[in-house]
């Protein structure tokens, strides 16, 4: 995958949002995706198509961001859903381990059953700060801890069996969030 620009790019067509993840999805580039998705949901977008064909892997925080989007769509009661497509066996296992296969519409590589055509690559826009090589320096400790706590909370809401898996991490993050004042920078 060397030579290909890694990061998260997005296209919005009507009420459909298309997301393409190239490289890894992590706590570092999950924040721009969360910001963008929440804005799109506010605008009334209801179907989120996430192409994982070039995604090398996702950490639990990133999956928690996707879970948060899925939960919000499910609560909206308008039939909104997260559709993940081109999912490798490895990523399917991750989704199943966290019970997210019940929240998302999961489509394996080569077996996309959504019948949905992805727009051309040139119509996608790279999310600012979604390239992992560039993001780490701009992150704030408090906001990152808060963001991770929220993401893992989403995973636990999506499937309560996740609670023991993340108990050490969430306890640590809760203590950390309690210790520090929030950042003054709303974008950090």
């Amino acid at each position: 995958m060397d030579g290909i620009t890694k990061g998260i790019s997005v296209n919005t067509t009507g009420t459909d949002v298309h997301v393409r993840i190239v490289g890894r999805g992590t706590f570092q580039n999950g924040q721009p995706l969360r910001r963008c998705a929440m804005e799109m949901l506010e605008r009334g977008c209801s179907q989120i198509f996430v192409d994982l064909g070039q995604c090398q892997g996702m950490d639990s925080t990133f999956l928690g961001v996707l879970a948060g989007i899925g939960l919000r769509l499910a609560q909206g009661g308008k039939g909104g859903k997260v559709h993940v497509i081109n999912v490798s066996a490895r990523n399917v296992e991750l989704l199943q381990t966290l019970g997210l296969d019940r929240l998302f519409d999961v489509n394996f590589i080569g077996r996309d059953q959504t019948g949905h055509a992805f727009p051309e690559e040139s119509s996608f826009q790279m999310l600012p700060d979604s390239d992992l090589m560039e993001t780490a320096k701009g992150l704030n400790k408090f906001d990152t801890a808060n963001f991770m706590l929220e993401a893992h909370g989403n995973l636990i809401k999506a499937d309560p069996r996740n609670a023991p898996k993340f108990q050490d991490l969430t306890k640590f993050l809760r203590d950390k969030v309690g210790d520090q004042p929030p950042s003054q920078n709303p974008h950090s």
């Binding site: 892997g57 296992e93 400790k141 969430t170 640590f172």
Partner: protein, 116 residues
């Protein structure tokens, strides 16, 4: 993406685990099993060589905190050494340096176990 590999050696009473590749949610259960097996065998002082680690996920780091606490509860510890800069920045950003002790090399990590 490199496959995750684990090598284990002994340094007297200290167990040394060398990690290779990516430590993510997919590969972490292998390390988890190995650490649990060591605890069951009574090996509570463990150091992880991270020099060949090219990625570690947030859940993996969170679980290492839990193992470090378990090791300390048993009068041992779990320490990291030769952590690549990119990964150290993540550990520092998340504030995990308060809980996970990180050393420059094997010698200093090993020596830290001998200090009272």
């Amino acid at each position: 993406m490199k496959d995750f590999q684990i090598e284990q050696e002994s340094r007297g009473a200290i167990q040394l685990i060398r990690l290779h590749g990516s430590l993510d949610m997919y590969s972490f259960p292998r390390l988890e099993s190995q650490l649990q097996a060591l605890f069951q065998q009574g090996h509570n002082s463990i150091m992880l060589d991270c020099s060949k680690l090219d990625y570690i996920g947030s859940a993996g780091l969170g679980a290492l905190i839990g193992f470090a606490k378990q090791a300390r509860d048993r009068n041992g510890d779990l320490k990291l050494f030769r952590v690549p800069d990119r990964i150290y920045k993540v550990i520092e950003l998340l504030g995990f340096t308060k809980v996970l002790q990180v050393y420059d090399n094997e010698e200093t990590a090993l020596a830290s176990f001998q200090k009272p």
